[in-house]
Symmetry: C2
Subunit: 366 residues, 2 copies
DNA sequence: ATAAATTTGTGCGTATGTATC
DNA sequence: GGATACATACGCACAAATTTA
């Protein structure tokens, strides 16, 4: 055979491309085996072998006595609807709360949930998407990985879109995927709110710790610094600590982390810190306590998310509260509506300040 | 064709079974297409169609010019391994803790987790299994539904076994599925421990509330009643409340539940209760408090699982502690070993009494 | 090292079965 | 019932890869 490739694969490729290009309408389509036999000048067996490939890919349905049908849009399943959920982690931090909101709504609607963790790794994301794409789900909720960098998996998402599998993003989104809605927190606004609160409470030497490889961190940091600047507060570079997923485990043991801690030890150079989230707020407290040079109370700290830990630390964390369960429910409900064919707009939810003990008024510090 | 089934499927089934039974050794095996043609008296094409099925299931490898090889042990995948996890609920009660243990281990081994909830409904279970069976996962962790009644989905599990997908059950198991290992708590032993503890602390009018449609509840109840009997304590029927998943939401609003509460209100008829788990222990406390007739402190209560709520109630719950994270990790590790082809034994883990305030010594009651 | 034999892969023709319209 | 279209089944020929003599 010319080209080395067997005939049936070449036929399959041609048909695959034509289907992708929309040559065939959605209803009853694809020529009969007999027609294809004539068109390509091969035997009917070869045509069947080619179509078997397409069927494997979920591109066509063969119905005995009726014909071979092109399947644009999601595979019609008998029985229950299935929804895929991709998060960075399943049982970490506030994920269980968000998932609980999603699960509740899905259960109410009798929809099966299928949950996988990406560990914030785009390769993992690709791998899971590949299976989801294989006609496995009727809808998809995704928490992006390293959203500040865009995604190498845009093709996978476009592929889902081509099959009419609705996708909604939560907590962040990939800017290159225009058509897909998202539900996020107002991260830039949260950063501004944190800055405003720090200044309102009388702090004059603020610092901050923000993650830079996801959209949430980048936006929170941007908002924070902009608000500070607009209110006339210049923050020296040494008081700013940026980090990425890589050093999330031992941030305050890195050179940059240690330099930051030294700044934070001295009340003359730093009197308050806005932290990417409650985990890092707690880690900062621990690191300060371990060094034992300043009492934690002497450094004002504000976190993000209002995670469980924020209630349990001493002093209890002042933080911007993430709606968690309500957030998850909203995402789930929007996805269900999309699965009903109703277009959904993106949503940016506001933060709510949760005042506890870690960011006291300046003159109340002992 | 006789039997309605096409020949190629029947040939495939026979071969599948023989592979499962180990008729073929692992190295070079499976007879050649020509031999199979003679053996089954069908054409070579039909044999090839049958073998194509097995190949789809990942049971055999075909190598041109060489032969068709049986693949015992897990399917070699390109890319990552995928593990399916089926639990009753994802975010309820102690599930997140168990899942966290599983997730940690899976992440350490670079295995993708795929999580679905059955809502304790065998139909849901079947639905999810059907997709998992479709060559989607390399291993499966299952928390059974209504395990006391056996399962209508035994076929699905056998189907998985035939395809060399290892399955491990947790918290309970289906007795009809002999070959598959499980990791469970020693529920009967826990029931006995609860009974012994109640008597040791001087209670003389015990009652109990147990679920009957899952193995855990049935075993806990059995152990409890047996231990009581062996220690010479007869429990009147009115002090025993059995229930099923259906009335889990409003147990103490059912006729039987209300009768039980009336018994519990009177110190002469009941002075202590062993509860199926911590949720029902808390519900019982609430129901008693709502009726307002006795102070909760006057009724000794012991729960199961050491869930988060058990620390937060007043009085804090005395309970038998479930290892949760360690339990999940153990399950995950065993499954991974099974995926490496190492047979695993079932495990029954012991309970550990967590003494708090809800089951005080009798003479210390005010 | 080469040739021959073996084994799976590809391709075609034909006949018949069965579901759908 | 008849026409149509996919499903199953068989036989044959040759190609390509591997193993064996």
């Amino acid at each position: 055979m010319l080209e080395g490739q067997p005939k049936y694969l070449r036929v399959a490729d041609i048909l695959r491309r034509e289907i992708a290009e929309g040559v065939f309408q959605d209803g009853q389509v694809l020529m009969t085996e007999e027609e294809l036999r004539c068109r390509f000048g091969v035997s009917r067996q070869t045509v069947r072998q080619a179509i078997a490939q397409l069927e494997d890919d979920g591109l066509v349905d063969r119905r005995r006595g009726s014909g071979t049908y092109v399947r644009h849009g999601p595979r019609k399943r008998q029985g229950l609807l299935h929804v895929g959920v991709l998060t960075s982690y399943i049982t970490d931090y506030i994920s269980p709360n968000i998932l609980s909101g999603i699960e509740t709504v899905m259960n109410q609607h009798g929809v099966v949930m299928n949950l996988s963790a990406t560990l914030n790794d785009p390769r993992m994301e690709k791998n899971i998407l590949a299976r989801m794409t294989d006609g496995q789900v009727d809808g998809l909720i995704v928490e992006p990985c390293r959203s500040a960098e865009g995604t190498p998996n845009a093709d996978c998402y476009r592929h889902l879109a081509e099959r009419n599998v609705p996708v909604i993003f939560m907590n962040a989104y990939y800017p290159e995927l225009k058509g897909m809605p998202h539900v996020i927190m107002d991260d830039a606004g949260g950063g501004r709110a944190a800055a405003a609160e720090i200044l309102k409470r009388g702090y004059r030497k603020p610092g901050c710790v923000f993650k830079t490889d996801d959209m949430q961190g980048a936006e929170r940091g941007r908002g924070f610094l902009e608000e500070m600047k607009e209110q006339g507060m210049e923050i020296p570079e040494e008081n700013i600590l940026f980090f990425t997923t890589e050093d999330r485990m031992d941030l305050f043991d890195t050179p940059a982390g240690r330099r930051f801690l030294e700044q934070a030890e001295n009340p003359e150079t730093m009197d308050s810190v806005a932290c990417y989230n409650d985990i890092f707020a707690v880690r900062l407290m621990e690191a300060m306590r371990k060094r034992g040079i300043r009492k934690p109370r002497e450094l004002g700290i504000i976190g993000f998310d209002n995670a469980m830990v924020s209630e349990m630390t001493r002093p209890a964390l002042t933080t911007l509260g993430h709606p968690k369960e309500a957030f998850g429910s909203l995402v789930a409900e929007k996805l269900l509506r999309m699965m009903d064919g109703v277009r959904q707009e993106s949503v940016r939810m506001p933060w709510r300040l949760v005042e506890r003990d870690s960011l006291p008024l300046v003159n109340s510090i002992v």
